[in-house]
Amino acid sequence: MKPWHSLEEKTIWVTGGAGYLGSAITTELDSQCRKVLCFDLPGRANVLVEEKQLTRTVPLALDLNDAAGLPNALAALIATHGVPDGVVHLVTASSAGKRLEQLLPEEFQRTFDLGLTPTFVLCRAIAEKMKARGSGSIVLFSSMYGVVSPDPRIYRDPMAPNPIDYGASKAAILQLSRYLAVHYGPSGVRFNCVTPGPFPNPAVQKAHPGFIADLSQKTALHRVGQNPEIIGPTLFLLTDSASFVTGHSLVVDGGWTIW
């Protein structure tokens, strides 16, 4: 018997699949799936495939910021590669990167236009195709900052606190995921969120040891997460290990939100 978490014969799409969290996920999926489609900004997915010598991953660029053009682009991808068995959608981690006092209304709006609307368009387009087959698993990415506010005291000058437009759009992803889970549940399509805690990339870990110490103190495990630790939670939700789990936010935060 194949194990619960088997991804053999499956095709998985990963958007934002060459970033810090995405690259760990894509690389692991490459070793387990029949085929992986890795989407990122032009060129980035190709670099990942080359660096990690991935053999089953197709590197692609997809303009997820173009909500209007997205349905046609997705239809073309499905025509070529088939309906995916699962999708990991990481790409929406955008913000204007400004302090609250300086953030313009149109910049706030833009974060939602880039992060949220394309997520909805993508999820609906793919879920409608999965619905016809009667199965599929879509994993969205929220953040602990979609659940709790950043504590400004650990962002010492000149570092700005994690921005408000980021957290607000991540909170919206959580509700989007629940709504889609309920809507598509009867069709056998599951929607869940991975909600990561502190996963600063290696450059930040190296450049800001004081900040890392502050982040660590806010978790029960007294440390920040490393990107391999996001793989297990994502694969769990993608596979039949989670066949009765839908509409859930799987918090991977070392205990950040438990106190």
Binding site: M1, P3, W4, H5, E28, R178, A181, V182, G185, P186, G188, R190, G197, T219, A220, L221, H222, G225, Q226, P228, E229, I230, I231, G232, P233, L235, F236, T239, D240, S241, A242, S243, F244, V245, T246, G247, H248, L250, V251, V252, D253, G254, G255, T257, I258, W259
Partner: protein
């Protein structure tokens, strides 16, 4: 460092508390199949022998240890026996439950009896084994709660059936959720993770629930059905494994979307 991409429990020593019920039996079968050394701690050895025999014939390692979780002495003796025999404890699954109470009108003595196992016995178990795992600087505790630790019950579900929902269950399953967060904080610095799995209603193929209940219950889930007992095991195995190395204090409902709506 542990391989945080691995769902494998191969080589791990896992103790499961409570193994005779519908869910307990399914967990025994699925956990044994992962290749761990599975110790099933139960009040009643006899009721587990045939299941354990079946698993052993399939080449799996399943041991039964008669244990009274109402007794700290019994628990520490179990801990000592397991550590002596296997060298360590990598995970525990707390699935023991006692359901003496039937209704709101029951005598308080029955409530107290329920708490003796479900509150005190639970705490005593996780402390005994949490401390032991903290000493070895690693381990994972998985507590089995319920959606009835998260939400109340729509009593019209049960109308016209002989099924009941008793108040003590809501108290101790809800308490289990927040005690898990406390334990996550307490044991986190020692490398021990503590999490909860909250199943929704589980279909019983051997003694099916009342048809009108099943029909109403199915409508409350977004997947349109009750859980199969084995479907709870995926989340339990994940939380026991190193694949969840940065997850602590979390709750995973296995409820087909019951609590998402």
């Amino acid at each position: 460092m542990a391989d945080s991409t691995s769902f494998s429990l191969h080589g791990k020593v896992v103790i499961q508390f409570g193994g005779t019920g519908l869910l307990g039996r399914a967990l025994v079968a699925e956990l044994a199949a992962t290749g761990c050394t599975l110790v099933v701690a139960s009040r009643n050895r006899a009721s587990l022998e045939s299941l354990a025999d079946k698993e052993r014939k399939a080449g799996r390692t399943v041991l039964i240890e008669e244990t009274d979780i109402g007794s700290e002495t019994s628990l520490s003796s179990l801990r000592d026996r397991v550590v002596e025999k296997h060298g360590r404890v990598d995970g525990i699954v707390f699935n023991a439950v006692s359901r003496p109470m039937r209704a709101m009108t029951d005598d308080l003595a029955i409530w107290r009896q329920s708490m003796e196992t479900n509150a005190t016995g639970f705490f005593s178990t996780v402390r005994t084994f949490g401390d032991a795992m903290a000493r070895q600087r690693s381990g994972s505790i998985v507590n089995i709660s319920s959606i009835y630790g998260m939400v109340g019950s729509n009593l019209s579900l049960y109308a016209g059936t002989n099924m009941t929902v008793s108040p003590d269950y809501f108290f101790h399953k809800g308490g289990m959720l927040n005690l898990t967060r406390y334990l996550g904080s307490h044991y986190g610095p020692h490398g021990v993770r503590v999490n909860v799995v909250s199943p929704g209603g589980i279909y019983n193929p051997d003694a099916p629930q009342a048809p009108e209940f099943i029909e109403r219950y199915n409508r409350l889930t977004m997947l349109g059905r009750m859980a199969e007992a084995r479907e709870v095991a995926g989340a339990v195995i994940f939380l026991l494994s190193d694949a969840s190395s940065y997850i602590t204090g979390a709750n995973i409902p296995v409820d087909g979307g019951h609590t998402a709506k």
